[in-house]
């Protein structure tokens, strides 16, 4: 956990620890799928920088390293073959935590401070406080957080918060050979993406789009897509934080807290009003209980 970064929001806390002492602009990764060649340099860089364990992969008939992200594999290029009006496409997209502005994982997490959103938009798991319940995975519309079996905690891309904290770009960005990845302020990355989308449209890809889903108030990963069909890239078309998660966090949880508080208050009120419970008139009840053995 990066100590010098201000926390904007924290899981299971009614109020954040945001002091406003430090300033930090929202940052973002830029991914241009139209110039990505699926070389997996980002996968290797992620593994090495984060000192992750090797996953025992095996050849199953695909260029894709794993079917989905893994607690020991936080950055995965997805390969999809698709014929579009007689034009064959081999679509490649770098998958990792999207660092939502409105993070479903954080909303779902019941452990105070186990998931935090820093002032710069990075969403991070604080393993010190994580209880490994997996609720964050339920809350994530992108299927990102994974349970680490030997560690007993949840794990995912940190957006290299430890590198960003000291002024470096994320490891995946650093390793990218083609320049399809970039890193900077969200504002700059959106501008870069819009420029590329404009160029693609002029080259005949009328549906080209910058994927920055507003259902989660945008993400700190913006992705240039040649086709406005997020599902072709294994992205949700319109991701939202689920109603249940939202309900848990915004309705049920406060209600629960209120109910617990009310129960305590009620108990005291009851005691104050009626006094202590009187001993039973006879032993029948207790005997019946012990007779169960």
């Amino acid at each position: 956990m990066a100590q010098t970064l201000e926390i904007r929001r924290s899981s299971a806390s009614m109020w954040g620890s945001h002091t406003g002492i430090r300033t930090a602009e929202t940052v973002a990764k830029y991914i241009d799928t139209t110039t990505c060649i699926g070389c997996k340099a980002c996968e290797a860089a992620c593994q090495e920088w984060n000192d992750l364990h090797r996953v025992a992969t095996r050849q199953t008939g695909t260029y894709q390293t794993l079917p989905e992200l893994h607690a020991d594999f936080w950055n995965l290029i997805r390969f999809d073959e698709r014929d579009v009006d007689g034009n064959f496409n081999w679509l490649m997209r770098k998958d990792q935590c999207m660092h939502c502005a409105d993070p479903g994982c954080l909303a779902a997490c019941p452990a105070p401070g186990a998931i935090v959103q820093y002032q710069n938009g990075i969403v991070d798991v604080n393993q010190d406080k994580c209880i490994g319940c997996g609720y964050c995975a339920t809350g994530c519309p992108f299927n990102v957080p994974k349970f680490h079996t030997s560690g007993g905690k949840m794990a995912k891309c940190t957006l290299c918060v430890d590198r960003i904290d000291v002024g470096l770009e994320p490891a995946c960005i650093k390793a990218c050979p083609t320049g399809c990845l970039n890193f900077g302020t969200k504002e700059d990355m959106v501008a870069l993406g819009n420029g590329r989308v404009k160029q693609l449209k002029a080259s005949g890809f009328k549906d080209a789009v910058l994927y920055d889903p507003q259902g989660v108030n945008g993400t700190s990963v913006v992705t240039v897509l040649k086709y406005n069909k997020p599902d072709w890239y294994e992205l949700p078309a319109d991701p939202h934080v689920g109603l249940l998660v939202r309900g848990w966090k915004n309705v049920l949880r406060p209600l629960g807290v209120f109910a617990a508080f009310a129960a305590v208050v009620g108990t005291f009120a009851h005691f104050a009003t009626y006094g202590p419970k009187a001993p039973p008139e006879d032993g029948d009840e207790a005997d019946r209980g012990s007779g169960q053995v």
């Binding site: 060649i37 290797a44 095996r58 083609t178 320049g179 002029a202």
Partner: protein, 819 residues
Amino acid sequence: MTNGWVDIKNADVILAMGGNPAENHPVGFKWFMEAKRTRNAKLVVVDPRFTRTASVADLYAPVRSGSDIAFLLGLIRYALTTGRFHSDYVKIHTNAPYIITDKFSFNDGLFSGFDGNTHQYLKENWAYEGDPKTQAYSLDQTLQHPRCVFQLLKKHVDRYTPEVVEQICGTPKETFLKVADIVTSTGNAERCGTLTYALGWTQHSIGVQIIRAGAMLQLLLGNVGRPGGGVNAFRGHSNIQGATDTGGTFETLPGYLKTPTAQLQTLKDYNDSGSPTTLNKQSWATMNYWVNYSKFMVSLLKAIYGNAATKENDFGYAWLPKVDGNYSWMYIYDDMYRGSSMRAGAKEPAPEGFLTFGMNPVALGPNVKKMIAALSKLKWMVVVENVEIETAKFWNAPKEYGGAPPSQIQTEVYLLPASGFAEKDGTFTNSARWLQWKWKALDPPGQSKTDQEILSRIFLAVQNLYRKEGGALPEQILNVSWAYTNPVNPDLGEVLKEMNGKALADLHDPKDATKVVKTAGQQIDGFGQLMDDGTTMCGNWLHSGVYTEAGNNAQRRNNADPTGLGMYHNWGFSWPANRRIMYNRASADAEGKPWDPTRVGIQWNGQKWVGDVPDMKPDAPPGTYGAFIMLPEGVARLFAASLNDGPFPEHYEPVEAPVANPLHPNVTSNPVALKFASDKDTLGTSDKFPIVCTTYRLTEMYHYWTKHQEGGVLNELQPGFFVEIPEKLASQKGIANGSKVRVTSARGSIEGVAMVTQRLQPFKINGKELWQIGLPLHWGYAAAKGHTGPLVNFLTASVGDPNTWTPEYKAFLVKLDKA
């Protein structure tokens, strides 16, 4: 590369063919994407498979493996018939106007001069016609003479209509025409396109002719010598360019000087054979730069033999081995296997010992079964490597490779631990001809030694034995100059200085004899200062300029780029003469004005050529010399009499042909292709082996090395061998993705996991469906636990190109079954 990696960003059109740069050169591929982003360049990919490169292309065209010449000649025909070629360029910078002797002809798949007994061509039939009166070549600047190169070419390619291209290559006509439209859009002064290729072109029995066809296309479009243009070969390893430049193959000495043969008894004979004479007496004469051959050779001899090389003893020329046979590697293994050699005329014994450095012949050579049988006949073998490779344990190969049991193999194998690339300093010469110094990152482990130390220790031990005991031809060994500060482990900076060359006596200005240019002992500035009287020495004239009195120029890291074209003249050193674009005189018109003023290669400013380092005498006004200074005619060759298999490219099927050649069924494959005739050299036919197979590399793996990594991340990213199979073929055969399949050729059989994909499609050839499958090559039986796999070269044949003797790995015949 004629140009460089960075220069690709200057292209308007990139034709990527015979290579998969996104897969194999992902870092350099940055410049492709840069061209797309900044110039909106169009990337056209022509490949049998829909590759990683194709995935980011603007247009992909499928082409059956081995049919590239038909595709390229189709493009040339399209350019010539539509007029979409750069005619001003063609007239002044190519041999299009040159008239060819009437002995040249082409009939039913054979060029004139074919000898059916030796299976070789007599190349005299393909000569230029001289004008006896003027003592010059006969030219027709109107390009109308029926025997001028332009008209002969037009006639030759006339058969390659879009329909014929479709019939041979399996490329749909509409797709071919789209490619033709984009590619020929650069056939003018305003636009420029680059051509990139790699082993997808070279590893064919017609490899050199495919490359020639590509070069001819680029010449017709006027794209050679210009920023954003060129014919650009991507080399397969980080320093393969440096190895080739430095005599890495048997037929060349450093700097592409020829290995002497026995007919050339004296230095004069040898130098004369290397310095071509020219008839060019008209305006636009030629520099014919090889007239300096003797300067390069004498300076090389002075580097090899030092003070022992004197004018009186022909500078030790007699001591150099004379090589009469072909000692390319497929021949060497054939000799080993057969136990004798007939190539030098008389029957000779086969080699009994073998040193192999940084090479894994069992894995990377064709026909593994023959290779293992060949090594089994040696008395001893020294393998110098970082890890125990397949070659080092050939005697213990899995049974299916057909080797004898270990107890019956007498070969004594020595494995000397070498150091890896990061464990030593020195230079890498990249595909762009840039020599870049690298610094050692860590010490080699245990007793591993650097290559130079291993070589030096062996050499000094042999020299010592000669001193003590004498032996045959002692001068060859005893006269070698080994004057390094530490002879046992020479400093590579010192070796680089030797390659650059130095003055052995004071050198004077040729224009002013009173002026001393270099005093004795000083490093020379470049090969222009070399002499043939023994007053200079130089280990490799082509690299001269790399280590001057200014220091080690390979270490320069200045990224100033005043032109914005990415030439970076103060970054490393680019041979020759730090020139970033070869043939750059052709980037300008007859008056020396650049074809495109926004992309200046060089231009004439009234006094001299400015821009890149000129590929021209710097103060020779336009019109003095032709742009192609290394050729005696001074112009680029659309018609080249120098190759062994024809002055024009022609479509021939692979040696293992999936179909008869529709153009000339009597001559289906290259009539002069390299073949061997041992009992292990079996070839398959399409009735038994109906599927075309090709081999290739993957981004995640480094050749046959990554599989040795214990716990490395790359084996995690690409966990094992697979067989890429078209979806429709898989469904016909009931093969499920991820299931086991068996691939069998006439030579061997291997098993792997099926990767069923739409990226491979059937080719419609002569109306019939033809299938192609693919195999990545990175596995073998020597590997870290869990990372072994089959050797794909168990399937490939010892057949190859007649000019380079490169094996035909990219198109051979197999059958496919469920395992």
